[in-house]
């Protein structure tokens, strides 16, 4: 395989030649879509269903128009029909890379999977990453270059920008501004640096709505320089989380989640577990998994952190003299931390104040975390900046008319800027502004030039992971809707009128290698194109002859592309110690006692900062705690709700110093009193699918308090709003669905832990002699991130249905995550329970199907034969686990995605047919056939289900139960293993490992 991308391009030409493809593109042109958008989605669905039905009526008898086959003109090497090939690249979130592999079927990318070789993925992939494939194919992406007032072309844009360049060169770049998001791309960094030298007066601004300014500022105070952290949760026996996004959103969270979970499985670690404390204002994943959790208002959080600092000797000891109901709790936690010096870790979330970040840093230092559980490294980010400051300076200059040329690359400040930074207004005063974006978003519509961007999977580029490891991104598909990479736009400024991202990236890395791959390891110097220093292993120093160098580079290049990782680019650790006397320097806390509502701004799980708002999978993904789809809401605690006399669905008017909006209320157990969490990223003003969905929390967000704002108004309006949630009831209602034990119960009383199986049946049991597929799900490991749900959706062609259908109870997810509360609604225990099909051996669903549409096979799979199903729906009624889904309309036909983006190995279900989790039978069969062809037995771990593969914590294990050495058999052997509703004697193949808590005896909060 010479150039991995080459053969794909060729085959796409063939693809593009076929009239079908032309038709597809034709059909997907937004113009036609708009007509349909006039209807609400339900009507839209019914219409589609209707047209399908009518079409179906005419389709009887012998093929009216026979199918055609189009063989290649020249066969591309290595493409085997019906077999998937994988190409490595990276998907970025806030600029940080997560390594991925894209599965190609007949050279079409159909699924995103984690790259096992990549430190930030380890083979797992989060929901957003999984869903990125849908954005790639999204027919609503920006497709045309629009110049001032009229439709233009890329060439037109290049010409215009080039002319601009001439003038700018004259005045040394005066008035030229660059606005980007966080950038970790070394090549892009180098390009910008080069521009900076070409245009000395140019200024580069950064705006990432979910910036990490507070962390940066704290580091500046502590170390006088920006740093980044890499945590080692494997070494952490005690973790103290302060509103932490450590295993949900922080760069590298996939890796952290895996380390975290590995320490939470006592049955695999000889009865040892880490202990987790969490104090937070709004529920987080790590808080849900914590052994001790306290919901508290931000002011209390600050006080508690001070207490902790004082208690562990990181701050003045008088900080420990606070009046707080939680004082003893904190004291014990602090004691536990100090007792585990060197094995303790404290982490604060992105949204916490500078002070808290500073204190956390000091506490970690005091606990000897540095070097053990925390590693300080060079930040992978290119020139870390305070984004808020950077943006406000830019806007200031724009208003002052100092900016005449503005390049907005892949960020959308017109929508996401703080309410008191009038970017949109200022943008009108910029004579020449360019917005390079995937969709025609708010900024693009205001800019004089809107240029469609390439999707990451269409472009050449590179990016760094949380630990500095670089990945070279290779295109998976030729741009579907035109579009260009940021590097290409910048190249135009550099005078290159025929920019090509491949050459740009290649040249950069060639220079790196040429420069003796010096600085791998040292991102900063990578960003600048100067090098020097010790030579890396596989590099060939400039002393070698050029030819050898070229060969060496080819080798390096292909290795980097193949593995999806550039070897030895991880940033080296820094050994720094925080300045002394910082804690003492802190001002005393303001006494924020009076009860007004604190507004907490948080990224949305799916839409993130709003950039994924056009992705139906993410819109319909039920949020972890609220199970809310297609909307955001103001999340408030039950107590607060009572106080304000509102309930879920009531609309409240919220205002801050910066702006006002209306929002539906959602009562969320475990939320801190007198706080309301608002998800960012909703309420877009531009966009087809997302426009007007949810409310825009950015309007309430000010530059001074980006994460936490005091509400000046929070009143019931009397209006109500219909929220579509997917979970019917929040508690187990007496069923034996969630099993929980304490660690010492597990260690000292295994008999009690073991479930008594009452396995009696009138009929003789069925024998499964050779293979018996089974799944084991570890509830200790499951952190509720829902990567599996989207993975399943992507793998199995599961359609989206729209808000109304969700509200009707017709959501289609095959794999859902149930979230159960126990304990008081103010501070409940949370348990997550992934629910795939149980593949019961005595399946109740099969017995009631009158047409043999669902039956067992000889390996114990509960099969669903769509083409035999007549749709009596009795199976669903009879399924105690309610894992069956029904196509009430022709959902698949109504889903907006080009036909070539579906997974060809899985039937796309039509109207009136039942469907459900199949244990990814298509994957099983492919491997089975391979093995049979080679005349060997299947190896354990050869078949991997989509959910298992995507799971960051390895909570899901699948395999042959009859093979006692298989991973799944070992998992099922633990005393914690149990099945749901076993008194129904359905004999599920899917079993669960009970939750084990490791409470601090001194705090003695009964957990089990």
């Amino acid at each position: 395989m010479t150039n991995p991308a080459r053969d794909y391009w060729r085959s796409l030409e063939e693809l593009a030649d076929s009239p079908d493809f032309a038709a597809v593109v034709e059909r997907e042109v937004p113009r036609f879509r708009d007509v349909l958008d006039k209807f609400d989605r339900r009507q839209f669905l019914t219409l589609m269903a209707a047209s399908m039905a009518l079409a179906g009526l005419s389709g009887c008898g012998p093929e009216p128009n026979p199918q055609q086959r189009l063989p290649y003109v020249e066969a591309p090497p290595g493409v085997v029909p019906g077999r998937q090939r994988y190409y490595a690249t990276a998907h970025t979130r806030d600029g940080y890379a997560e390594g991925v592999l894209l599965a190609h079927e007949m050279a079409r990318p159909i699924k995103v999977e984690g790259n096992p070789d990549h430190p930030a993925s380890l083979g797992a992939a989060g929901a957003i990453t999984q869903a990125s494939i849908l954005s790639l194919y999204n027919p609503r992406r920006a497709q045309t270059v629009v110049g001032p007032g009229q439709i233009s072309s890329w060439e037109g844009f290049v010409a215009a920008l080039y002319r601009r360049r001439e003038q700018l060169l004259k005045k040394r770049g005066e008035g030229l501004r660059l606005l980007t998001g966080t950038i970790t791309s070394p090549s892009l960094g180098a390009q910008i640096a080069a521009l900076q030298t070409a245009f000395p007066a140019m200024r580069w601004h950064q705006w990432e709505p979910l910036h990490r300014d507070n962390e940066l500022a704290a580091d500046q105070m502590a170390y006088g320089r920006p740093v980044a952290r890499v945590f080692d949760l494997a070494a952490a026996d005690v973790i103290f989380a302060v509103d932490s996004d450590l295993i949900s959103a922080a760069p590298g969270w996939l890796a952290y989640a895996r380390q975290f979970a590995a320490r939470r499985r006592p049955d695999e670690t000889g009865g040892k577990m880490s202990r987790v404390y969490a104090i937070e204002s709004t529920p987080t994943l790590i808080g849900a998994k914590a052994d001790h959790r306290l919901p508290m208002r931000p002011v209390e959080v600050a006080a508690s952190v001070r207490f902790l600092a004082g208690a562990v000797g990181a701050g003045p000891s008088q900080w420990t003299e606070i009046q707080s109901p939680h004082r003893d709790w904190l004291k014990e936690a602090a004691a536990d931390l100090t007792a585990n010096k060197g094995h303790a870790l404290v982490h604060a979330g992105r949204e916490q104040s500078i002070e808290i970040h500073l204190l956390v840093e000091l506490i970690n230092a005091a606990l000897g975390a540095h070097g053990n559980t925390v590693r300080l490294i060079e930040p992978p980010v290119v020139s870390p900046t305070l984004h808020l400051q950077s943006l406000s300076e830019l806007v200031g200059d724009m208003q002052a008319g100092k900016v005449d040329t503005l390049l907005i690359l892949d960020t959308n400040p017109a929508y996401s800027a703080p309410a008191d930074i009038p970017f949109a207004a200022a943008l009108k005063r910029v004579p020449f502004s360019v917005s390079l974006s995937l969709f025609a978003d708010e900024s693009a519509l205001l800019a004089t030039w809107q240029v469609p961007a390439k999707h990451e999977y269409e472009a050449w580029g590179d990016a760094r992971a949380f630990d500095g490891t670089a990945t070279i991104q290779q295109p998976q598909v030729r741009p579907l809707y035109g579009g260009h990479a940021p590097s290409e736009v910048l190249a135009v400024l550099q005078g290159n009128t025929q920019p090509d991202d491949l050459t740009l990236v290649r040249q950069f890395w060639q220079r790196q290698q040429g420069a003796g791959s010096a600085a791998e390891g040292n991102p900063q110097s990578l960003a600048g194109d100067a090098g020097g220093g010790q030579t890396g292993p596989q590099s060939s120093g400039s002393s070698q002859p050029a030819l050898a160098a070229a060969e060496a580079f080819e080798a390096f290049w292909h290795e980097a592309l193949r593995r999806g990782v550039v070897a030895n680019t991880a940033a080296p650790p820094l050994t720094l110690t925080p300045k002394a006397g910082l804690a003492e320097g802190l001002r005393p806390l303001p006494l924020g006692g009076e009860a007004a509502i604190d507004l907490l701004f948080r990224p949305d799980e799916g839409l993130w900062d709003g950039r994924h708002a056009e992705n139906p999978w993410l819109l319909e993904l039920a949020r972890t705690f609220t199970r809310l789809t297609w909307d955001n809401a103001a999340l408030i605690a039950p107590a607060t709700a009572k106080k304000h006399g509102v309930k879920t669905g009531d609309v409240v008017a919220i205002a801050t110093r910066y702006g006002a909006t209306k929002a539906p209320v959602f009562v969320l157990p475990g939320q801190a009193p007198d706080t309301a969490t608002l998800w960012l990223g909703w309420g877009r003003q531009a966009g087809a699918l997302a426009e007007g969905v949810g409310f825009d929390a950015y309007r309430l967000r000010g530059a001074a308090e980006p994460w936490l704002a005091r509400a000046t108004r929070f009143e019931k309006t009397g209006e109500t709003y219909r929220l579509a949630t997917t979970q019917g009831h929040d508690r187990v209602a007496g069923r034996d669905l969630i099993r929980e034990f304490t660690l010492d119960r597990f260690n000292n009383d295994p008999e009690y832990v073991k479930q008594k199986s009452k396995d009696v049946s009138l009929y003789p049991g069925y024998i499964y002699p050779d293979r018996a597929w089974a799944m084991a799900i570890d509830l200790n490991s499951c952190i509720g991130c829902q990567a599996c749900t989207i993975a399943c959706q992507a793998e199995n062609n599961v359609p989206t249905v729209g808000k109304d259908m969700v509200h009707f109870g017709r959501i289609m997810h095959w794999l859902r995550i149930d979230r159960y509360y126990s304990g008081s609604p103010d501070d409940p225990d949370v348990a997550f329970e992934p629910m795939p099909c149980m593949h019961c051996e005595n399946a109740p669903c099969e017995v009631v199907c009158p047409v043999h549409a669902t039956v067992h096979d000889h390996e114990g799979l509960n099969l669903m034969v769509y083409n035999r199903c007549v749709g009596t729906r009795f199976c669903s009624n009879n399924c105690p686990y309610k894992v069956r889904r029904f196509n009430f309309y022709d959902f698949a036909a109504a889903t907006e995605r080009p036909p070539e983006s579906w997974n060809p190995d899985v039937s796309v279900r039509g109207r009136g047919v039942m469907e459900k989790c199949t244990y990814c039978i298509q994957r099983i069969k492919v491997k089975e056939i391979e093995a049979e062809r080679d005349g060997r037995k299947l190896r354990d771990g050869e078949v991997v289900t989509a959910c298992q593969q995507s799971c960051p914590t390895q909570a899901i294990v699948f395999g042959d139960r009859n093979d006692s050495h298989s991973h799944v058999a070992r998992r099922k052997a633990t005393p914690l293993d149990y099945v749901l509703l076993d008194d129904l004697n359905t004999r599920p193949r899917t079993s669960y490992a009970a939750i084990v808590h490791n409470p601090n005896p001194a705090i003695g909060k009964e957990q089990s």
Partner: protein, 455 residues
């Protein structure tokens, strides 16, 4: 059935004035008269309008799919199935009156069984239509027939749905044969009275040349007796199997061994109730007060009363089982049914089906046609609510709390209900126009017996 055979002194089973010839002329004339009476046209027009609604509903359903109804997951069965049960129950009532009371030799059965059976034939299509409509892919319902064609696949005969399908299939065919067997001699009467050539041929062909020879009568007696003896257990089995559709699954609130009899009781009361209503209408419309007397209504009222008592017993038992049982799922489901989303329906149903019918203990009420009519109507509505409540409520609060949901019917759900009622009434009106509505042969027998002071 322990119905007192005695005739109330003031309520003869047949008015003395009625002779064999007057009976024959009266009853046949209703069929043979050239134009239909106004009340018939009004009734028929109304029914036909509803029937048109059914046609529209079907078109809408087939074009857009089952999604136009309110069904969802978890409540995958909504109106269609509960109404299917409801219709079957009404239909069964016909067989119960005609078969069960034939083998138990109830004299009053003679004048009413034709109405009962006519009602049965009109109700069965409605029942049969429901499960087909509710399929996801209605066009493929024939896959339930035990034939494999080129697929090589058969139905799954362990499924209660299949039992039910077979049951309904047999029941329809058998009912038609049973109906026709009973009808033969009366068709002959009409044939012999018909004057217009067309009607002569029409009824002549239908009567198959029945002459009433002693040989025919004797064969007829044997076969009709055995048929009745079969139809009786048949109707019981039909409704038991419908019960098994629910009891056969393990869904909370359905998985209940008492369902088969429970459903049969429901059939007794609702079937008889609808017959009472139709009898009152026909009796009034066709002015057959002499043939269908207070006695009949009185007797049927008693059957209704018995039915409501049986049902009351079943209700108590159901409540006891659910509340007393240690099964938390059963318990929560029943609590939801009683006090939750469906509470209103639950209590309304109990009132209409069990409490109000207790008025029938009073002879005065039994003889007051208006009261009788209203109570019967109430029962039928109540039974509909009952089916609806236990079908949906049980699914709403199933084993998986995370997947509890509610059922909201849509316009098209109601359209299906109204439409099938239209179909039912349309068929009924057409049939009472075409066939003699009283089994004359049997009434003659009674008249003769009365002459001789027997019976």
């Amino acid at each position: 059935m322990s119905l007192p055979g005695e005739l109330p002194a003031d309520e003869p089973i047949v008015a003395p004035a009625v002779t064999m010839s007057s009976l024959s002329f009266e009853v046949s004339s209703r069929v043979l008269r050239p134009g239909a009476p106004r009340w018939w046209w009004i009734g028929f027009g109304f029914s036909f309008a509803l029937f048109i609604l059914l046609v529209i509903q079907l078109a809408w359903l087939f074009i857009f799919g089952i999604g136009v109804w309110g069904v969802n997951i978890p409540v995958a069965w909504g109106f269609a199935i509960s109404e299917y049960v409801w219709w079957i129950a009404l239909a069964s009532g016909g067989t119960i009156i005609s078969a069960l009371f034939h083998i138990t030799r109830q004299p009053w059965r003679a004048a009413t069984n034709r109405i009962a059976e006519t009602m049965l034939l009109s109700a069965i299509p409605c029942a049969g239509l429901m499960p087909i409509m509710h399929l996801g892919r209605q066009g493929l319902f024939y896959w339930l027939f035990p034939y494999s064609s080129v697929m090589g696949v058969w139905p799954q005969v362990r499924s209660p749905l299949w039992w039910d399908f077979i049951c309904l299939f047999c029941y329809i065919l058998m009912s038609i044969m049973y109906y026709y067997t009973g009808l033969l001699s009366d068709l002959a009467t009409v044939r012999d009275l018909a004057r217009s050539r067309f009607k002569q041929i029409f009824y002549g062909v239908l009567a198959l040349g029945w002459r009433g020879s002693s040989r025919e009568w004797r064969n007829h007696k044997i076969v009709y007796a055995i048929m009745s003896a079969i139809m009786a257990p048949m109707v019981i089995s039909v409704h038991s199997v419908v019960g098994l559709d629910f009891a056969g699954g393990l869904t909370t609130g359905w998985h209940d061994t008492q369902f088969p009899p429970y459903f049969f009781f429901g059939a007794v009361i609702s079937g008889t109730a609808v017959i009472v209503m139709l009898t009152i209408i026909v009796r009034w419309g066709y002015r057959l007060q002499d043939v269908i007397t207070q006695y009949h209504l009185n007797a049927m009222a008693k059957v209704v009363l018995v039915g409501s008592l049986l049902l009351a017993y079943a209700y108590l038992w159901e409540a006891f089982g659910s509340i007393y049982s240690s099964d938390i799922a059963e318990y929560t489901e029943y609590m939801h049914r009683m006090f939750g989303f469906t509470a209103a329906g639950f209590w309304a149903e109990k009132a209409l089906v069990v409490i109000i019918p207790q008025l029938l203990w009073l002879p005065a009420v039994r003889r007051n046609q208006t009261m009788l009519f209203l109570i019967s109507g109430g029962i039928i509505v109540g039974m509909w609510i009952e089916r609806y409540v236990f079908t949906t409520a049980s699914l709403e609060h199933n084993y998986m709390p995370s997947y509890w949901g509610l059922f909201y019917p849509t316009f098209w759900d109601w359209a299906a209900l109204a439409g099938t009622i239209g179909l039912f009434l349309t068929m009924f009106f057409v049939l009472i126009r075409l066939v003699p509505i009283v089994s004359m042969a049997e009434v003659r027998d009674i008249i003769e017996k009365k002459k001789r002071g027997e019976a």
